[in-house]
Amino acid sequence: MLTFTIRRLVLAVPTLLFISLVIFLLLELAPGDPMAQVPLTVPPEVKEKMREALGLGQPMHIRFWKWIVQFFWIEPQVLIDAVFGSSFSAGDLRVISWQTRSPVMDIVVQRIPQTLWVVGTAYLVGILIAIPIGIYSAYKQYSWFDQTGTFISMIGFSVPPFFSGVLVIVIFSVNLGWFPSIYDTTHKVVDWDSFVTQLQQMVMPVMVLALQITAQISRFMRASMLDNLNQDYVRTARAKGLGETTVVMVHVLRNSMIPVVTVIALGVPSIFGGAIITEQVFKVNGIGQLLIGAIQANDLPMVQTLTFIFAVLIVLFNLIADVLYGLLDPRIRYD
């Protein structure tokens, strides 16, 4: 298993380098210019100078190489410095956002907490709701509960968040006044009251996101349970005289969770990636909003870095899903 993991990790490096190159070329081809924000009154020659200051004057391969160095060599040093208080990175040029003229990673780090709070919680809540629903739907296949569950998850799947988000805002903030419609990213949880406030402001975005997540995961859970409920070992367990609860919640569930757990692991990168539309609707200003903002402002270093981080996460969690599968299912042996 360890060899497998290491092998996959090593193989991932060229893949990731290739991915980063493709992203880079893609962004180069994309329309948009970082000087878009600068008004027309600035003469072209000044703009040209500004571009040069951003490193845009250099040929493409040099810029790509610079980004690689900055991202893989300097940024880790900054991280080490931040943790141990050393100063390896002093004076080195970090990956700088064109939009804010500040290091990209600092902004990313700033955005992670709110993304995790909202999207992460939604993912968690979604899973926690989805699993029991999936189990029960499968156990009572074609019952009214199952039918309703299918129906609701299909609706949940088909309602775009820009609509459901506004709908809950109108209902819960405007009409009922229960929750704030705008997420306060500066809010800090220090005591119980502030925790309650935090919960209040999280409820709606979490609700909207969790609806979609629940819809998907519960379908998976149901299918997986159905696959296992008819297996011979279930009959064996019953023949042993075990109670229904034990049979379903221990024997069947454990087996059914294996594929679901890996599906869940595969979804984790999307937490870090944020939920672009939901973040926008509730003004959560997490990673998703950062990405879309950067794209709109043609902030290439930011977009490049963010998408590359996503790529790393996706590759990493693919691996984690595989390893989890191997760990959970004793039949699977890598090597």
Binding site: T15, F18, I19, V22, I23, L26, L27, L29, A30, P31, G32, T150, F151, M154, I155, F157, S158, V159, P160, F162, F163, V166, L167, V170, V174, F220, A223, S224, L226, D227, N230, Q231, P259, I276, I277, L291, I292, I295, V303, L306, T307, F310, A311, I314, V315, N318
Partner: protein, 324 residues
């Protein structure tokens, strides 16, 4: 997660004793006459209640959006400014919008685009996904590169990709197909190209498993070439996961299109789609709630009907289940 190893009690269907004395002679005939394959598919499909209703509903929606304008002749872009912001009434069954355009007509026009986008984008994604999946699963040498390609596409951000595509292809497409067709092709391709990966993975997994099945070996021993092997033996047997992807694909394509509208990358403003109608109407959620209701309902109904339709089709296309 396919149902390929779902418990199918096929033994006992034709007791072996039919060949024994006491039975009706050595080779008893089945009472059921051998029938046309498509007839059987239809018979099974008919008996699947959800599928039948889903299918009918989907058909109704498709007919409504494509043939409806023949009956309801008001032009979806016609502005009748005096009649704006009307509620449902006799002359405008779904009311009118802020410019006095007939919502009913706009729903049909929007549905035409949405349904076409859904179906074509799904077909494209499916075609790509199945192709990559089959190739990767079947040819060991291609497996690594193709799966890395899949990773790459999974990791690519959709938005810049779209912007690049818009930049590179919009003008050529516009001049070749006209502006509406051009953007239609662009959006369909964009959605298709960014959503084939899950299908590819599932298909690959199934193909890998199928390759180990004895009938593939048997086919090889009777001299079946690779191409024929894929066409005759592999593809029909991965049809059911593909069908599932297909039904989900239509739904996701319709929803993705609406998200593109939200981000301002979708169709032009006078080109209604359900996603855009819904998006435009959310601003008026409080004043005119019925405006969000219609497109919302249409999207949900389509997604639902397609889902049930897919369930039924999958069962109907699998001769093992069909025989039950």
């Amino acid at each position: 997660m396919t149902d390929k190893d779902r418990f199918v009690p096929d033994e006992g269907l034709a007791p072996a004793s039919t060949a024994l004395p006491g039975g009706a002679g050595p080779l008893e005939e089945f009472t059921k006459p051998p029938s046309n394959q498509w007839r059987e598919v239809w018979d099974q499909f008919k008996n699947h209640k959800g599928a039948l209703y889903g299918g009918i509903l989907f058909l109704v929606i498709v007919l409504w959006v494509y043939l409806g304008p023949v009956i309801w002749t008001i032009d979806a872009t016609h502005i009748d400014i005096r009649a704006r912001n009307q509620g449902p009434g006799f002359s405008h069954p779904f009311g009118t919008d802020q410019l006095g355009r007939d919502t009913f007509a706009r729903m049909m026009a929007g549905g035409r685009t949405s349904v076409s986008v859904g179906i074509t984008a799904m077909l494209l994604a499916l075609g790509l996904g199945s192709f990559v999946g089959v190739m990767a699963g079947f040819f060991k040498r291609l497996d690594g590169p193709l799966m890395r390609l899949t990773d790459l596409f999974l990791a690519l951000p959709l938005l810049p990709l779209l912007l690049v595509m818009m930049l590179l292809f919009r003008d050529p497409l516009n001049s070749a197909f006209g502006p509406e067709q051009g953007i239609f092709i662009l959006i369909v391709v964009a959605i298709g190209v960014t959503s084939w990966m899950p299908t590819a993975r599932i298909v690959r997994g199934d193909v890998l498993a199928l390759k180990e099945r004895e009938f593939v070996l048997a086919a090889r021993s009777i001299g079946t070439t690779n191409t024929k092997m894929i066409l005759r033996h592999i593809l029909p047997n991965v049809l059911s996961p593909i069908m599932v992807s297909a039904t989900l694909g239509i739904a996701t394509a319709i929803i993705t299109e609406s998200a593109l509208s939200f981000l301002g990358l979708g169709f032009p403003p006078d080109f209604p789609t359900w996603g855009r109608l819904l998006f435009d109407a959310t601003d008026y959620l409080q004043q005119y709630p019925e405006r969000v209701f219609w497109p919302g309902l249409a999207i949900s109904l389509t997604v639902l009907s397609v889902n049930y339709l897919g369930d039924g089709l999958r069962d109907a296309l699998d001769p093992r289940i069909r025989g039950r």
